[in-house]
């Protein structure tokens, strides 16, 4: 059976990036990841051997912590509107690779925020959290086939939303 630290090594990077992709700041994502694993640590004797079950539990706890944070802070997690000027903006010149990655990440988060929540969840869990389809189906409470269809639709929509950004980076 894996230790909590071993689960952390695999799941923490996925969870951190998924939280950022879903609208949290990096600092907030780090806090949520740590709080999640404190809870997992406290439950360490009751954890199941199945890795997918632990992964599902980790993501569910993290979601709940974030929901509570949002309620407490009363702020919007996701930005629903992208300004027209900003949407068509291109990266500034003389940027370092880190700046470019930040710019790209911001554009992607904005595009994710424009997706319907069911498509956004399916796609970010698939691509950013690297969850298997079967686990996404359990997490979102729908069939595996519907998850596949949602991922496909999300991809198509993202390709439209990111047409300008992809030209700059691909």
């Amino acid at each position: 059976m894996k230790t909590v630290e071993e689960h952390y090594k695999v799941l923490a990077p996925r969870l951190t990036n998924w939280l950022v992709a879903s609208g949290s700041s990096y600092a907030e994502a780090c806090d949520i990841v740590q709080d999640t694993f404190v809870k997992i640590w406290n439950m360490r004797n009751d954890l199941q051997e199945d890795d997918n079950a632990v992964s599902g539990l980790v993501f569910t706890i993290a979601r709940n912590i974030r929901k509570n944070l949002v309620r407490a802070e009363k702020h919007l997690v996701l930005q629903d509107e992208i300004g027209e000027d900003e949407a068509g903006a291109t990266p500034e010149t003389n940027l370092t690779p880190d700046d470019e990655r930040d710019y790209l990440r911001r554009k992607l988060v904005e595009a994710f925020a424009k997706l319907p929540p069911i498509l956004r969840d399916a796609y970010t869990l698939f691509q950013v959290a690297e969850m298997p389809i079967s686990e996404i189906a359990v997490q979102t409470g729908v069939s595996e086939n519907l998850v596949k269809v949602r991922i496909f639709r999300a991809k198509e929509k993202l390709k439209e939303l990111l047409a300008n950004v992809r030209k700059d980076f691909c």
């Binding site: 923490a12 990036n17 780090c30 709080d35 694993f37 404190v38 992607l108």
Partner: protein, 84 residues
């Protein structure tokens, strides 16, 4: 005053029968609706299967252009393991 008990009895019986018929009709309607719900659920599941079967082969690849872009952008390091 003449009271026609036969009429009263007949009307009461008719009313009771009407209530019973309505109750039975409601049950039948509910069963029919449940059967429709089941049919709709099965149809929806079948539609999902057809849609999933019709997806392009590369629809679920993580390493296509978009996937590479997303993976590159979301490669932030996690925080250290919490101090437990």
């Amino acid at each position: 005053m003449n009271i026609n008990f036969n009429n009263i009895r007949t009307n009461t019986t008719n009313a009771a029968q009407a209530v019973q018929t309505t109750a039975e009709a409601e049950k039948t309607s509910e069963a029919t609706l449940n059967s429709y719900d089941l049919t709709i659920s099965l149809a929806e599941a079948a539609i999902e299967d057809i849609k999933a079967a019709g997806l392009p082969e590369d629809a679920l690849r993580r390493d296509d252009d978009l996937g590479k872009l997303v993976s590159a952008a979301f490669s932030l390091p996690p925080p250290p393991f919490p101090d437990v």
